[in-house]
């Protein structure tokens, strides 16, 4: 039950992009077309799930164990950067199609604030190991959801008759804020 609540809360109620405003850069940058948006979403979900597991271990056994909580941010950045590199090499070796599908997005995720945010939130929420992984996966799914919704709308926006001064970034930001408002409505769900 606890796990289901974590999933619902991370996908809808505390959606990373639309409620917590983390990872806005890929949200605007990679949402022009649907298929790259899905690739980016899958890549992020993948990295988030792994990061959640590793960040939990580091936090539990190194940071708390040695009483070094002030090193949270530094160590998590280190872990995420190293991990993404490893995962990239591993995928390139084992599954070329997946590597091609994720493409440039995988290395870009290294500097995605949503991932660091996930690691830091894990510590604040004091989840156990399984809960952390579920939280990581849910967050990634929420990120994908936001990205896919946005990409779908932006594909239609291409055809819409937008006033010339609103074309491009302005109308995108307005659209994003409208979706965000809608997602705020989930706040009372649990």
């Amino acid at each position: 039950m606890q796990l289901i609540i974590i999933i619902i809360s991370s996908v809808l109620i505390n959606n990373y992009v639309l409620v917590q405003f983390l990872g806005i850069c890929p949200f605007i940058g990679v949402s022009k077309k649907l298929s790259p948006a899905i690739s980016m979403g899958v890549a992020t979900t993948f990295v988030m799930t792994i990061t959640a597991a590793v960040a939990w271990i580091i936090n539990q056994y190194i940071l708390i164990g040695l009483n070094l909580q002030f090193l949270e941010i530094g160590s998590f950045i280190l872990v995420i950067a190293g991990l993404v590199q490893l995962v990239e090499m591993f995928i390139k070796k084992t599954s070329k199609p997946l590597y091609d599908a994720l493409g440039i997005f995988l290395p870009l995720i290294t500097t995605n604030c949503a991932i660091l945010g996930l690691a830091l939130l894990l510590v604040i929420k004091e989840y156990n190991f399984i809960e952390s992984i579920v939280f990581g996966f849910g967050s990634g799914a929420g990120f994908t959801l936001a990205l896919v919704i946005m990409a779908g709308i932006r594909e239609e926006l291409e055809l819409a008759d937008v006033p010339s001064y609103f074309k491009g970034a302005p109308i995108t930001l307005i659209t994003a804020s409208c979706i965000a408002l809608a997602f705020m409505g989930f706040a009372g769900l649990i």
Binding site: I58, I62, L66, N67, L68, L71, G74, S75, L78, V79, G82, L83, Q85, L86, M89, F90, K92, K93, D100, L159, A160, D161
Partner: protein, 271 residues
């Protein structure tokens, strides 16, 4: 105080070391050997990334060339010199493919096609297909708002006075971008030596087809009978030129076509 600093330095240094060793190991163990020919070929390709070869960009195409999954002829933009050099790198013979150009399969311009109403809205072909399909009654023909013109990177396709897309066969490089831009699928790629076409895509029954356009193919089979089935074939109320069988010696049934749907394109200035 001192122990905290020591622990911090040790743990972070240890973590950093651990990951650097892991990555160094992974780099050795998981190294994927890339064929040096890939970069060499990628440099020779046009690098326009037009996608007409069916792959995501020229680099991806180069990979598939080296892997033997594709052929250099699939690149329609690349010149013959470059093709030969690439073929030499790959160690294969080129059969330099014939240059292909876009052909618009519609003659339903303003004076020929029946108008079904006025369209006021976003003037792109794609947008109109979502609403009413433009002003012309034919559901298979050119809409005439020029999505192909916007898409063409070489300024080789234009909307003429009749409101029809027309291809400049000299400028067309054969990249096929317009084919995917057209929501109706009116544009096809054909070798430049092909001159005779049934310029219609309408597969409605003859009565409907004739009511929407003066130059619609009504599938009457007169052309097929005139050549005894060699060179013309009627399927689904629509005649098609069979370019494999079609030869210049055949008497053209152009004038026999009751709706003048058979057209000879740009023969005089090319061959």
């Amino acid at each position: 105080m001192f122990t905290t600093i020591l622990y911090a330095v040790l743990s972070m240094g240890g973590l950093g070391l651990l990951f650097s060793v892991l990555i160094a190991l992974a780099n050795k163990k998981l190294a994927v050997e890339e064929d040096p020919r890939i970069t060499e070929i990628a440099e020779l390709l046009p690098n326009a990334n037009c996608g007409s070869c069916g792959y995501a960009g020229c680099a991806n195409f180069a990979e598939n060339l080296v892997g033997g999954k594709s052929q250099i002829n699939n690149c329609s933009v690349c010149g013959n010199d470059a093709k030969e050099t690439i073929a030499r790198i790959l160690g294969v013979d080129v059969q330099t493919g014939e240059h292909r150009v876009a052909v618009v399969f519609c003659q339903g311009g303003k004076s020929n096609a029946t108008k079904k109403g006025d369209y006021r809205g976003v003037k792109t072909c794609l947008a109109t297909t979502f609403v009413s399909g433009g002003e012309r009654a034919c559901n298979y023909g050119c809409i005439g708002y020029g999505d192909c013109v916007t898409a063409c990177p070489f300024d080789a396709i234009h909307i003429n006075d009749e409101g029809l897309a027309t291809v400049d066969r000299k400028k067309c490089t054969g990249c096929g971008t317009c084919v995917s831009a057209c929501p109706r699928g009116v544009i096809e790629m054909h070798p430049i030596s092909h001159h005779v076409f049934v310029q219609c895509k309408n597969i409605d029954n003859p009565k409907v087809a004739r009511s929407v356009c003066k130059h619609a193919c009504i599938g009457c089979m007169i052309c097929e009978r005139a050549v005894q089935g060699v060179g013309f074939k009627v399927t689904n109320n629509l005649a098609k030129v069979d370019h494999v069988q079609y030869t210049k010696e055949l008497v053209l049934p152009t004038d026999k076509c009751p709706t003048k749907a058979i057209v000879i394109l740009g023969q005089a200035d090319e061959s």
